[in-house]
Symmetry: C2
Subunit: 431 residues, 2 copies
Amino acid sequence: MDTVIDKKPDAPLSETDAANLIEELATKARIAQKKLASMSDAEKADALRAAAASLRDHASEILAANAKDIEAGEQRGLSGAMLDRLKLDEDRLEGIAAAVENVASLPDPVGQRMDEMERPNGLHLSRVRVPVGVIGIIYESRPNVTADAATLCVRSGNAAILRGGSEAVHSNRAINKAISEGLAKKGVPEGAVQLIPTQDRGAVGALLKAAGQIDMIVPRGGKSLVARVQNEARVPVLAHLDGINHTYVHASADKDMAEAIALNAKLRRTGVCGAMETLLIDAAYPEPASLVKTLLDADCEIRGDAKVQKLDDRVVPATDEDWDTEYLDSIASVAIVDDIDAALDHVAAHSSGHTDAIVASDPAALERYLNEVDSAIVMANSSSQFADGGEFGLGAEIGIATGRLHARGPVALEGLTTYKWQVRGSGQTRP
Amino acid sequence: MDTVIDKKPDAPLSETDAANLIEELATKARIAQKKLASMSDAEKADALRAAAASLRDHASEILAANAKDIEAGEQRGLSGAMLDRLKLDEDRLEGIAAAVENVASLPDPVGQRMDEMERPNGLHLSRVRVPVGVIGIIYESRPNVTADAATLCVRSGNAAILRGGSEAVHSNRAINKAISEGLAKKGVPEGAVQLIPTQDRGAVGALLKAAGQIDMIVPRGGKSLVARVQNEARVPVLAHLDGINHTYVHASADKDMAEAIALNAKLRRTGVCGAMETLLIDAAYPEPASLVKTLLDADCEIRGDAKVQKLDDRVVPATDEDWDTEYLDSIASVAIVDDIDAALDHVAAHSSGHTDAIVASDPAALERYLNEVDSAIVMANSSSQFADGGEFGLGAEIGIATGRLHARGPVALEGLTTYKWQVRGSGQTRP
């Protein structure tokens, strides 16, 4: 590449250099995207399989690069959890390659006719799915995102401009290089997947401001990353914010089901965005103490309101802040609510609009909750930990969107497309 | 209302007052929107019919208010065209009321199941259309937008916060009052449709920044309005930008059809966003002089490239700027292009992504253009002036979106909805 960066690789970027760099990358991406848009479903799938093969061929390089990141991370004092997320080994790399093959096997949404209609004047209208265009993806730590994001974009005919976290810089570069080589063998131009060649944060700022050059930004990472992106972006953002997720146990809930779901929703994995953070127990639910005990016995800290505190000595008092907190840890806030109206009010006031669930056997209560809760995902009698593109049968996901426009919930290939109207006439002019 | 404005109706708004005002309106809108969301299709339609009746009942008040706006406009020296857009009479008011009834008759998208799937673990997933929420609409001059925007929002379960142009302030207030009264008779809360009670521009700024309170902004108006909105907004914008629309006349085009379409696309109405601005003539098209003459004879100014200048003495030279200009007038830029590749390149470089058309009899050329032109609307053998929600059978439109996300082209009720996932289980926990 002949970018601003190559000319002075180590210098910090001025604002102008950052804007120029993004413009170079975006121009290259735009040209590559046009080429991608003209490739058939089979050609794109074939290119992705070549990328998977290339990841396997370059395994030793990728693992060596990852070892550098791990070493640097240890020196910087990253936590064990962080290092674990960063760490690659042969199994994990094989998992990444298999995920790329899985994306290759997914149906290509591009070209699908969403609907068609014939007007009385003979005009034939159809709405056809097309790629969004050039997508910027900004993410943290896990190096597998480099492969996931790149391949989901390519599968749906989009060019990707990637910016991963500094702690994974060597891993990301090695993975990107392997993928790009594989894609290139099957005619996908280099610009289709580009990793921003600098970790200077100015490049992120320039990416966020490149309206007209970048069509959509997908941030994947913690709260502060997403907040920065949403604050600075002039490009539309498909954002994934907090998962302050509620499970409401209705008076009619089956005891065993309620306990199993609460346990799974909170503790299966505490660090995922679909984890339950708040448990709402109906005042008429007959077994609240057993429900709370189930979580406490599994070493979950319970922060409860006054009524919950009376159920078990181990419950600690919840503060106002607790009802708006995403713990991502073995902690749950628990409240007793008067009835379903109070539960719906609590959810409306405190949910982050990600995934909220109800456990009940009364069909009217289930349907009311499903209809009235205004979150991206509303679940009945199941664990909120199912909030995941794979579990939804989408094959993969680029993230879970908590905004209201374009796409909500798990976003996979369809969320990376938009549509255009095709109108076929026979000489019609408008009266 | 007990808003900041009522407390000091004539004082200019401080930034804090503007933010407080929008927060008051948005809070009221949010409560009303929840009520609207719980109303049935028939109830919403009934309320809209009551709004139409109320518009008719208040005709004399509305026309008196409009007379004030016209008088003020004449004093401010508004152009004849501006005054005409502002002007209401009994026929136009009846047209507005009939349009409201038309919106009432459209199918309600809310609650539609977009798709359903059953997972191997028994989870039943469906995607269901839900309202976007609280929508801010910022518009200029035409007072009918007050009625159109309000009723499209209510029909789709959204609350609307409206901000019309200063020149139509009395008309807008009178129309809003009549509509709100009609809606209220059928149980739609006051907050469902609110006109911002001040023309202070600070309120627009506060509206644009009210992320989390306002879910979407729809600007309807000229370039400078839309540009301001896009620059300042922290709320997602469904934007309607320029219509720099091309019609490409392929070598295989039928002469009569090409001339009729060019004439209609350019001159049926020159001020609409679907009007053709640039005509591209294939070098192999046999009758370019006749095509250009057709437009010139209809008093259309032609700004041509060197080859076009040779076709007729009346052609004036086009400057570089002309290829990127939306004239909205009896002017067209015209170029001779070598072939369809050159036409596609020209469109890719200069189109604003609104509506681009081809005239051809060769099916391969038609399909290539339909597939490769990346605009919201691509038309074959028809006039670009059909770019309109009514002509597309959508019944009405809130605007034509030229962005890439959420909705493209004519936006009617469906574009004012989003979706949520409903998941129905029987106790599933995630392994």
